[in-house]
Symmetry: C2
Subunit: 295 residues, 2 copies
């Protein structure tokens, strides 16, 4: 398969759905234009749509073929985007640049940024509630999304990350931060694709393992890129983790060991897919791409 073509095609479908979503907000007279503008600014800043694409690829791996996966897939991007907006706030990571443009609070002010984040988080659930699928399936998707992104998932990881800033985390704490801050939503993305495709328990289990491994690897590689990447490649300041006293894999394990860990996790994630044969080819290719990514 041609991975570049695959990623491009799926990103296009997701972006189209996102555009449709934000346009419908614009036309809804009850949504204040200023708020919608801030939401759109963050949402359409050129993300790679990794989580939606993982969700779609997982859905396809279990035999799903319909566009009905798009609402759930893009809801994941709304959650991811809201988390970036809130994480960038002065009280949190205090970042001025993201994806080569000023962060949302720099462009629209802090109040609008907080509210745009809240709006995107809320709308993620609105979008799923309007998707085409059996209500029982949608409830399971909502369960998965709220658990993966809530206090036992992404928000929990972010809370510990902030709390331990400037202190040296132990390996267990570092593992908690990474598997939750980034891992939990990526795991949920893969599982939601499987749930929408009514996967068998065995396939759901295999995809869960894939999601866990690739989710952790994703954050380890993020940490590595913060040291080895350039500002142009990443669209944000590099070396920021170190400056801020963040606990990262390189800061605890060293750069070389972190690269080894990432590579091993990616190999394990691909191994978890053996029961799928060629149907999970896209997922395996995405895993290898995650390891080699430069931004």
């Amino acid at each position: 398969m041609n991975l570049n073509h695959y990623l491009k095609e799926k990103k296009k479908a997701v972006d189209l759905f996102l555009k449709h979503y934000i346009t419908s907000k614009k036309n809804q007279k009850d949504c204040p234009p200023h708020l919608v503008k801030a939401m759109k600014y963050a949402l359409m800043a050129g993300g790679k749509r990794v989580r939606p694409i993982l969700c779609i690829a997982s859905y396809e791996a279990v035999g799903g073929t319909s566009d009905n996966i798009l609402p759930a897939a893009t809801a994941l991007e709304l959650i991811h985007t809201y988390s970036l907006i809130h994480d960038d706030l002065p009280a949190m990571d205090d970042d001025d640049f993201r994806r080569n443009q000023p962060t949302t609070h720099k462009a629209f002010g802090e109040a609008a940024a907080i509210l745009a984040g809240d709006a995107l988080l809320t709308d993620a659930f609105a979008i799923i509630s309007e998707a085409e699928a059996a209500p029982k399936t949608l409830i399971n998707v909502i369960k998965e999304l709220s658990f993966g992104s809530g206090p036992g998932g992404m928000v929990g990881g972010q809370a510990v990350d902030i709390m331990l800033e400037g202190k040296r985390a132990n390996k267990k704490e570092l593992h908690y931060i990474h598997t939750h801050k980034t891992g939990a939503l990526i795991r949920a993305s893969v599982r939601i694709g499987a749930i929408m495709g009514t996967a068998s328990p065995a396939k759901l289990k295999a995809l869960t393992e894939f999601g866990e491994k690739i989710g952790l690897a994703f954050q380890v590689i993020d940490d590595i890129l913060d040291i080895t990447g350039t500002k142009e490649e990443l669209g944000k300041s590099t070396g920021a983790d170190n400056e801020r006293g963040k606990n990262t894999y390189p800061s605890i394990f060293g750069l070389d060991s972190s690269k080894d860990i990432a590579e091993q996790l990616i190999n394990e994630s691909v191994s978890a897919l053996t029961i799928f044969n060629h149907k999970a080819e896209a997922l395996a290719e995405i895993a290898r791409y995650v390891l080699s990514r430069r931004n």
Copy 2:
């Protein structure tokens, strides 16, 4: 009926459910204790539980009798609490006191307050996804809650409120702020009770009208109490709206006219209930109580 007894009994049931919810978070090893503490602090600060009680009373008005209403009812309190935490932040209304105690960011820091709000918002949907009801009903509840609290509802109202601070709003803008900032979630509370009780279209329509009227009245009375109430009664600073240049009913219509408007809205809300006979007695009593409340 004895309204005080009714309110006390329902508040007790809601508080019990909330306690169960927060205790289960405490025992869930994936939820950071510091984050759960901040969530609990805001949630258990002694709110009147107006939204959950309206939801339960509406459910009972259409014939509902089971405790299965509690998850949906308390999800409304999670949304309300998150909105207070975020609204109190320095970048928003910058309030130091709420319910006679320091606001969440004063007690736990801004980052923890932002994340506690995000966690409560997310968990509102998690709680509903685990409730006992037909999946189709739960999807309709999630639709209602996300629309009422999202950018076309509560968050939209808050965005316009903040944007027009210090500027004089016209009557249309003031109406938008009040029907959305406060009205939309109260309307949703009443409608969710009706949906959970599988109300007929005619009854849902009547309850929607009730919810709209009482929701707007609630915020008008809030504005009035900010002028006429004492700090002890309200548990927060009074006169803060005026100091901050907020657009309120008294600031646009004057205090006496605002009282008349509130009274008329409450009368209209009670009139909307005529098709229910005695089954909506509690709702009518609550409406009258809202008009006479001192905090």
